[in-house]
């Protein structure tokens, strides 16, 4: 399957960025986007999808990082109020 990388810039809302982070259980595992929370910032933006592989947060690669480290990065981004996410999506040829 082919993959496509795309950059998603999100602005933080009151409730947060509006998506769930999945993964980070093992040393060499990828981080994935879990569910997209309805009416959240991610859903409003529209580009992010569940099951996208999260490659970078604000330019920092997150593959292989632990769940806690990813949360720390997101907290920093939340303090800034915006975040640039780089995600990789699998494109299945029809």
């Amino acid at each position: 399957p082919n993959t496509r990388d795309l950059d998603v810039f999100l602005r933080k809302q009151e409730s947060g960025f509006g998506f769930r982070v999945l993964g980070g259980d093992g040393p060499d595992q990828s981080i994935y986007i879990g569910a997209i929370i309805p009416l959240g910032a991610a859903e409003k933006d529209g580009r992010l999808r569940a099951a996208d592989e999260l490659m970078c947060i604000d330019g920092i690669p997150v593959r292989g990082k632990s769940h806690k480290q990813v949360l720390d990065l997101m907290t920093t981004a939340a303090r800034n109020g915006h975040v640039l996410l780089t995600v990789r999506r699998k494109i299945f040829c029809e």
Partner: protein, 527 residues
């Protein structure tokens, strides 16, 4: 034709056969080839008994009465008073293939039978002779002695039943060499009986033994010994070969059909018989018409090359250079001929495919047969019908045969099966299916796929004469790596042996309580 001119050279060897010179065709070629079989390797002939030496296996693709679907008259090429070609070759074969082995086989059976009878009657003789010869001097038989009579009677009965079960069977094949184990057993029985008679003659008859109980016990011991010999026979002849020790791969030389079998310890000739039994019901029937090799390719032969060297001194270089040149030239020539072969093969495939697509054979045949079957139905007991309308299965078969004959014939011709099914055989099969309430599909399963050889009409396709070609003596036991051949006229079965590996089985104990699982927690946090 290419083929005939190529192969007619072989038939000059069969000098004393009139017909081979008159009729140069494939049948003669096969016959002379089978006689050349006894060359360097030991090749011996296995022959199934009970049937005349008439070998009717026909491998010709064209038959005289192949138009039965379209015409009702049978076309004959000869007049009533002349012998047809088939008869001539059959007679010639009879004269040439008369084998003197029948005498030796019957001799063996006769020897075994007399030995068995002798050994059976001996205990009775032992018991009966003293009262006949010296009744006055004999001690009266007490209780224990009379009890032994019952024991002798029952043991003899058991011996009789056991021998009947084990030995009284129609022989499956006549083996080329002596069946070693059976001969061994016969010698053992003979020695046993002879030694008992010797002892009896010297110590009992001559000495006029008084104690009748002793004589009866002696007779009982002989019967026991015979029962043990019977046990030995069961173990040697029947049980030893059951546990699989070797895996055999049997490949048919012409089309590569292969099977694997497991056998135990057997001699090579017994294995050959066993394989032949399996061959007849496992392998699809040998159909030379399906080989599909274009004749021009078969006839072509790569002739040898002669290489002339111009002024070379070093002899070793010469030979390797020569052989390399020969191989290169042969390879180039082979490549060219292969190209032609591929073209021909592709052309043939295209033709067959076109023909098949045009006729839509198999579904058409199925439809025709189904429709034919709807024309008749079984008469129920309660129904009353005009006696003229009631038919027996044969007439019913003939009635519906006409409607599907044409489709059937077309199908058989295209799938090149028509030598195997004559009109009579199809009618018989139809009658059989109607009698047993079989559906059209069940009727057709015989024709849609090539079945094993034993399915076809016995006299035509069951060849009795097989030749066993082996480098080892055929009474040797099987060993790892032995290869032998079972030859027929047009094909042969190549059998190779491999020992079943020795398995090292080790044990691992798993405590049922040790199966435990945890959830794999995937942390999911909202950000």
């Amino acid at each position: 034709m290419d083929t005939e001119s190529q192969y007619s050279g072989y038939s000059y060897k069969s000098g004393h056969s009139r017909s081979s010179r008159k009729h140069r065709d494939r049948r003669d070629r096969h016959r002379s080839k089978s006689r050349d079989g006894s060359r360097g390797d030991k090749s011996v002939t296995i022959q199934a008994p009970g049937e005349p030496l008439l070998d009717n296996e026909s491998t010709r693709g064209d038959e005289r009465d192949d138009n039965w679907g379209e015409t009702t008259t049978v076309v004959t090429g000869t007049s009533e008073h002349s012998i047809s070609h088939d008869d001539l070759t059959r007679i010639a074969k009879d004269m040439e293939d008369s084998v003197p082995l029948d005498c030796s086989r019957h001799l063996g059976v006769a020897a075994g039978a007399t030995l068995a009878l002798l050994s059976f009657l001996t205990p009775l003789a032992f018991l009966l002779l003293p009262p006949l010869l010296w009744r006055e001097e004999l001690e009266p038989c007490g209780t224990a002695c009379e009890g032994l009579f019952i024991s002798v009677a029952f043991k003899l009965l058991i011996l009789l039943l056991g021998s009947w079960a084990l030995f009284f069977r129609r022989p499956k094949a006549s083996l080329p060499r002596v069946f070693v184990l059976r001969a061994l057993l016969m010698v053992l029985v003979f020695l046993l009986v002879v030694s008992y008679w010797l002892f009896y003659g010297v110590r009992i008859l001559d000495a006029r033994e008084r104690s009748y109980q002793g004589v009866v016990q002696f007779a009982v011991s002989l019967v026991d010994a015979l029962l043990f010999v019977h046990y030995l026979a069961v173990v040697l002849l029947e049980l030893r070969q059951l546990q699989p020790q070797f895996t055999l791969k049997v490949v048919r030389s012409t089309d590569g059909a292969s099977r694997f079998y497991n056998v135990g310890h057997l001699s090579i000739q017994r294995v050959a018989v066993w394989i032949l039994e399996k061959y007849y019901h496992d392998f699809p029937v040998y159909n030379p018409a399906l080989l599909n090799l274009p004749k021009s390719v078969l006839a072509k032969k790569v002739s040898g090359f002669k290489v002339y060297s111009l002024g070379e001194e070093n002899s070793t270089n010469n030979s390797t250079g020569q052989s390399r040149a020969v191989i290169a030239a042969a390879a180039r020539r082979r490549d060219n001929s292969h190209n032609e072969y591929y073209y021909e093969e592709a052309e043939h495939e295209r033709r067959v495919r076109k023909r098949r697509a045009r006729l839509l054979l198999s579904p058409r045949l199925v439809v025709a047969v189904e429709e034919a079957f709807t024309h008749i139905k079984r008469l129920q007991e309660e129904e009353q019908k005009n006696p003229r309308e009631v038919m027996d299965p044969r007439e019913a078969a003939q009635a519906i045969f006409a409607s599907m004959a044409r489709a059937m014939q077309k199908y058989l011709r295209t799938t090149k099966q028509q030598p195997y099914h004559t009109m009579e055989s199809i009618l018989q099969h139809l009658e059989f299916c109607i009698t047993h309430d079989m559906t059209p599909k069940a009727f057709l399963e015989r024709y849609l796929a090539a079945g094993p050889t034993i399915q076809y009409h016995k006299e035509r396709w069951l060849a009795k004469q097989w030749t066993l070609v082996s480098e080892e003596p055929v009474t040797n036991g099987l060993k790892d790596g032995i290869v032998f051949l079972l030859k027929r006229q047009d094909f042969s079965l190549v059998v190779s042996t491999k020992k079943v590996p020795f398995f090292k089985l080790s044990e691992e104990f798993v405590d049922p309580k040790s199966h435990k699982f945890v959830m794999r927690l995937q942390s999911e946090t909202s950000v």
